[in-house]
């Protein structure tokens, strides 16, 4: 894309959507691995490790996954705000 010409609105919307899908896809992959993987499917092997005075798998299922969820949304907010600013789609 050349710098001299401003991109047409349709192109910007398209780029925004593609980037958005990539961000959402990556974050949802982490979401699935931590909760369904760490908290359920691999809980028994993870239980052979310890965190504090308890088992790691059990902790992920009851607390750790929740911390990850909060961080995931925070990352999403930051990435999307940056993307919108970059593409000039920021609402006033």
């Amino acid at each position: 894309m050349s710098d001299s010409q401003p991109p047409r609105p349709g192109d910007v919307s398209r780029r925004y959507w593609v980037e958005n899908l990539r961000i959402v896809g990556a974050l949802l992959a982490v979401w699935a691995v931590v909760s369904f993987g760490g908290g359920i499917l691999f809980v028994e092997p993870l239980n052979s490790f310890r965190i504090g005075e308890t088992k790691l798998g059990f902790w992920i299922a009851q607390q750790g996954s929740i911390y990850v969820f909060v961080v995931l949304i925070a990352v999403y907010v930051l990435l999307l705000n940056r993307l919108e600013r970059r593409l000039g789609l920021r609402e006033e």
Partner: protein
Amino acid sequence: MEGLGVQGWTFVLVGLSFALYIGIAIWSRAGSTSEFYVAGKGVNPLANGMATGADWMSAASFIGMAGIISFAGYFGSVYLMGWTGGYVLLALLLAPYLRKFGKFTVPDFVGDRYDSRTARVVAVLCAIFVSFTYVAGQMRGVGVVFSRFLEVDITLGVIIGTGIVFFYAVLGGMKGITYTQVAQYCVLIFAFTVPAVFISLLLTGNLVPQLGFLGSLDGDVGSAIAAGESVGLLDKLDQLNTDLGFAAYTAAPEAIIATTGPKGYTDVFAITLALMVGTAGLPHVIIRFYTVPRVRDARVSAFWALLFISLLYTAAPAVGAFGRVNLIEATRDAYYSAEAAPSEDAKVIPDWFRTWEDTGLLAWVDKNEDGRIQYRNGAAFTSANGKPIFEEAEDGAPVRGVHGQRLLRVDDENGVALTDTENELFIDRDIMVLANPEIARLPAWVIGLVAAGGLAAALSTAAGLLLVISTAVSHDLVKRTIAPGVSEKNELWIARGAAGIGVIGAALLGIFPPGFVAEVVALAFGLAASSFFPVIVLGIFWKRMNRQGAISGMLVGIGFTAAYIAYFKFMGGSREHWFLGISPEGIGSIGMVLNFVVGVTVAKLTAPPSEEIQKLVDNIRVPAGAGEAHEMEVPPATKGE
């Protein structure tokens, strides 16, 4: 105010909190339909996050969840992960786009996106059905708190709670509810955290319950339990559980199968998924994201919401574990009366035991007649509704046994049947949070605070749900479907009338509940997961999705899920016949998959949606700013069919 006592403190704190809510509701009452439905779209994202937290955290979260975790151990994770993980889906897949769409309700989106009156009506019925199931759980929770607070029967408690919620729902509207919920969030999180901090200090010596959960038994009470050893809280709990014949507290599903709910990993997986997707599909949660000014506010708001929610959800497993340790230590092999104890330092049950026995949340039957409480794995007795049925004299006075305990009516016809397990103790899971402060011998004002917090949680959620019900009737059914010409003033009155009828119906379900507080709510999730989530996600992310696909998907999804739940919950289906070993609580995830599969297949076989609709989807996907108007045009829903 030293001698105020538990009742006095409860009265003062609950009274003060009610005065605050009513004041806010009157100050910010709705004057227009836009204020009644979406608070005029002027809510600050942080305030909206708090309101979402209160809206979301219900009687089930506040009263039921820690109790369920304390009895279910690892299995309690399905609620913890399910009810928080759904916010990731909500933030990433729904909230920003629905805010861009900007209409008042979820059926509005479904009706406009699929340009179909039928789709709108199906969505309205789903919204009413889901909200109704959910609100019943709240009324039950209100009843549980009131029965403790006023020491009245649960039924009377439900009726009192109904009166208060009625006031909220009818006057408040979304604007009033939002600011009331901000106050209710503060009350409920304070009320949950204070006892959790006290108990954490007593047991683990750590001020932060989330960290005490990982610690060892180092506090004043904790070191007495540990008897000089240095032992981790959860390790000790595993051992206590095993000693009494339960599965270890932290044990993974294989070890739990024999003792409680889930059948194994498939079921744990299915329940977690159903709760997550259901959370994202609950109309009263989605609607909160319509109230903020801009698309990016909807995203930030989802972050604040989950942050505020996680403060309670990460403390709850700690409270559950602390409560169980305390409960086992206080009751195990204790004498019921001091007279029967052989020596002065023999363990006798604490005073709170009798208080909770009177409300029917605890019951003891002295099977081996030794005057001591044997708490072991297995039900102490069975009865028609699983609850204790006490012997009563002609005038309704309780009949007491030799030690002063309330006697159960042992009678196959209309009483309880004793089992041949060694267990003599019945504990209702709901008492965990309510009685925890007493179990840990915390000051009277903390107990009063818990009552106020439980009511804040139940009332705020009930108000949010009743708003969905009333909006569904007045806006989606009357204004958009039956009588488009209705005046704004009349629409407001219809909304208020619908809220009134809704709350009375909910009270009836609260008085005759189909299960525990949290389980009633779990059903609403299955239904939300199998109806809204797929049609909204496909409506945003797949332009090709059309009317026929959406309607057939929703009908198949919710029909399958509702039939499965009805068969196994109410028509005596037995767990051997569960499909793939999935319980009714988890079946919403299969219903959701069915909705997706049927919806996509039908859409592929029928004509694509119109050019207009495809433009609408393009518009929803991008926040305003790319040369588009903030208020967009949507095709009128009265077209089509």
